[in-house]
């Protein structure tokens, strides 16, 4: 990819992510927040492609956009009365929150700029899907199995909590 193109793509994606991220936390209407969340997740998927992690990008779109936000939109609809714009959606902590967060931001970015990374100049893996599949079945087989248990317990838990007697 040409250097100039990837730069342009990065800045466009970054603008989308940050812009929609701000909208997610500041919109009065929670339903609109959810829609901006979808946009933000798409932007992040674009960033993954830029980082040559195509598989993660696909997973991001499928799970975050396809499952999690849809789930949230369902939850918003089911708890319907609250997505009318009349109800105040943020509390009184806006100003202290802004101060804390901007302090954190400045400190972290300062620390990042001072850090030297052990960068590697090797070319990134191109066959990511095959390689990830292989790793999940060999080196990462234990976490892979544990994740299945997490999903099972979350499934059971959600049913236990949400079912009607």
């Amino acid at each position: 990819m040409l250097t100039g193109v990837s730069e342009a793509v990065y800045y466009i994606l970054a603008a989308i992510i940050i812009g929609s991220g701000v909208m997610v936390v500041s919109m009065k209407n929670i339903f609109h927040s959810a829609l901006f969340l979808v946009l933000c997740f798409f932007g992040v998927a674009g960033i993954y492609i830029l980082l040559s992690a195509e598989f993660i990008a696909a997973v991001q779109v499928l799970i975050y956009v396809g499952a999690i936000t849809i789930l949230m939109i369902f939850a918003i609809m089911l708890t319907a009365r609250l997505y009318s714009a009349q109800i105040k959606q943020s509390n009184e902590q806006v100003v202290p929150g802004l101060i804390i967060v901007s302090a954190l931001l400045v400190i972290t970015i300062f620390a990042l700029s001072k850090t030297t990374w052990k960068l590697s100049s090797q070319a990134p893996e191109t066959q990511t899907v095959a390689e990830i599949g292989k790793l999940l079945m060999t080196t990462y087989v234990l976490p892979f199995e544990i994740v299945s248990v997490v999903l099972l317990s979350a499934l059971i838990g959600a049913i236990v909590i949400a079912r009607r007697d």
Binding site: T116, P143, L152, G157
Partner: protein, 486 residues
């Protein structure tokens, strides 16, 4: 493409497999049980814990990693698994009569307890941050649900939501810490992190430091230390009482298992950098916990703040570090599990259906209504306050002793002062029980205690006195569990 299937030693992970399989077995069999036989799920779950305990005994004195160095069995992990399994066993026993009384006896409750126990065991054995993170998640996800298990009870719902939101928020920080460490080391395996830190790559130390700080925030939530304790009182008060006892025993110990593993074993060479922060955290945790506990009028809330304070005492052991520090922390967590579950068992025994009787005035005159319960409660409260000859005294003695030995006398003075403060609110209940007449009430009938609860009371009393009078055997066990590491 070459496929190298890593060598896997399933014997090492046998306790986890047993717990997991039984949890699934309960889910499968429970729908086929009639309403009167639902209790069989409970029996299956304690059988699972006992089998896992036996399997775990066979792993004692083994030091071996498997699953490409992600899962490590050493005496440290094995000792912690004994604590978790003992805690879960007692909790399952006290849950049976409680769930029957509240008419919420469902098999899923017990499989969620087992899943949660599985998560704790993975936290103790995880030698890769992936496994530690996932273990933490199994544990937490099950606990969020268990906290809300009394679904018609508003307080329980609120506890569940608060626990969930706070827990997920903390997970965000934990993950950010992990990614910082991964970025500077290039791996999430604790072994490689240790190598990296000891080889002392000065350039990226700032980042490891930031990562360690964020991990401390993440674990700080789980162990309920100040300033990450906001969720504790509401969750402890709102959750069903056996779950409150469970959260204060197992998951807290599991949080410490991972915290000690990461900080004392991996971040050893940068110990001076974080000791000061943990010092302040320990002092704050002890003081806030004990001082706010003075003002509580609900026993579950009071025990919640006392649980915060006890996390502070264990943090003192973390500050002390070294072999004596860690072994005293292990001993403390073991003692705390028994005395705390014992106290909560008495709290459960006093409740009625839909009426928990957790106000402090409900305890007045207990000495005349049920002398045995009152005496047992006194033993547990004395142990929590740290009087001899109970486990609490010996545990505090070892923790403070190790801190003095490492030269943190100032912190020990704060700790001892805090213990003195705590005597007031523990003794207040004892005074209420023995020196006040019962509040006139309609339900003055005899307090019936279920057989299983009696069993739990016997076991915890025995453990509290055993560790208080003859601490040597268990202490040497705790010492043996850390000697392989230092």
């Amino acid at each position: 493409m070459d496929w190298i299937i890593p060598a896997v030693n399933l014997k090492l992970i046998l306790p986890e497999i047993v717990v997991c399989l039984f949890a699934i077995l309960i889910l499968v069999t429970d729908p086929f049980l009639s309403k009167e036989r639902k209790i069989w799920s409970a029996h299956l779950s304690w059988i699972a814990v006992v089998i896992a305990f036996i399997a775990n005994i066979r792993l004692w004195n083994l030091q071996e990693a498997t699953f490409t160095n992600m899962f490590l069995v050493d005496n440290y992990a094995t000792f912690f698994k004994f604590i978790f399994l003992a805690g879960s066993f007692l909790i399952i026993l006290i849950s049976m009569s409680y769930l029957k009384r509240e008419e919420i006896l469902h098999g899923e409750y017990f499989s969620l307890i087992l899943f949660s126990t599985l998560g704790m065991m993975l936290l103790a054995s995880g030698f890769d941050l992936v496994v530690i993170f996932l273990g933490l998640e199994i544990m937490s996800v099950s606990l969020y649900v268990l906290a809300g298990f009394k679904r018609s009870d508003l307080a329980s719902n609120e506890a569940s939501l608060k626990y969930f939101l706070m827990g997920a928020f903390a997970t965000g920080f934990l993950l950010y810490g992990i990614v910082m460490i991964y970025g500077s080391v290039g791996s999430t395996n604790l072994g490689q992190i240790i190598n990296h830190i000891t080889s002392n790559d000065a350039g990226s130390n700032l980042l490891i430091w930031a990562g360690a700080g964020l991990l401390l925030v993440g674990f700080g939530f789980k162990i309920a230390s100040v300033p990450f304790h906001m969720w504790v009182p509401d969750v402890y008060q709102g959750a069903p009482t056996p779950i409150t006892a469970f959260i204060s025993a197992g998951p807290k110990a599991a949080g410490f298992a991972a915290l000690l593993r990461v900080f004392l074993f991996s971040f050893t060479t940068i110990k001076m950098d974080w000791t000061m922060i943990v010092w302040i955290m320990a002092a704050l945790t002890m003081s806030v916990g004990n001082i706010v506990a003075l003002a509580q009028s609900d026993i579950k809330r009071m025990l919640a703040y006392s649980s915060i304070a006890h996390a502070g005492y264990v943090l003192v052991a973390l500050v002390a570090g070294g072999e004596t520090g860690v072994s005293s922390a292990l001993f403390y967590l073991l003692a705390y599990t028994f005395m705390n579950i014992g106290a909560f068992t008495v709290v459960i025994a006093l409740g009625r259906k839909g009426q928990d009787n957790t106000k402090l005035e409900d305890y007045s005159g207990l000495g005349s209504r049920s002398p045995i319960l009152a005496i047992l409660m006194t033993i547990f409260l004395f142990s929590l306050a740290g009087f001899p000859p109970t486990a609490g005294f010996m545990a505090k003695f070892y923790v403070f002793g190790s801190a003095v030995k490492s030269g943190f006398t100032g912190l020990v003075i704060i700790g001892v002062l805090n213990s003195l403060i705590s005597v007031y609110y523990y003794l207040r209940i004892v005074v209420l029980m023995f020196m006040q007449a019962p509040v006139t009430r309609t339900d003055n009938e005899r307090i019936k205690v279920a057989f299983c609860a009696i069993l739990v009371l016997i076991i915890s009393t025995w453990a509290v006195l055993q560790m208080g009078i003859f601490p040597q055997s268990l202490l040497s066990l705790a010492q043996a569990s850390v000697s392989s590491i230092f």
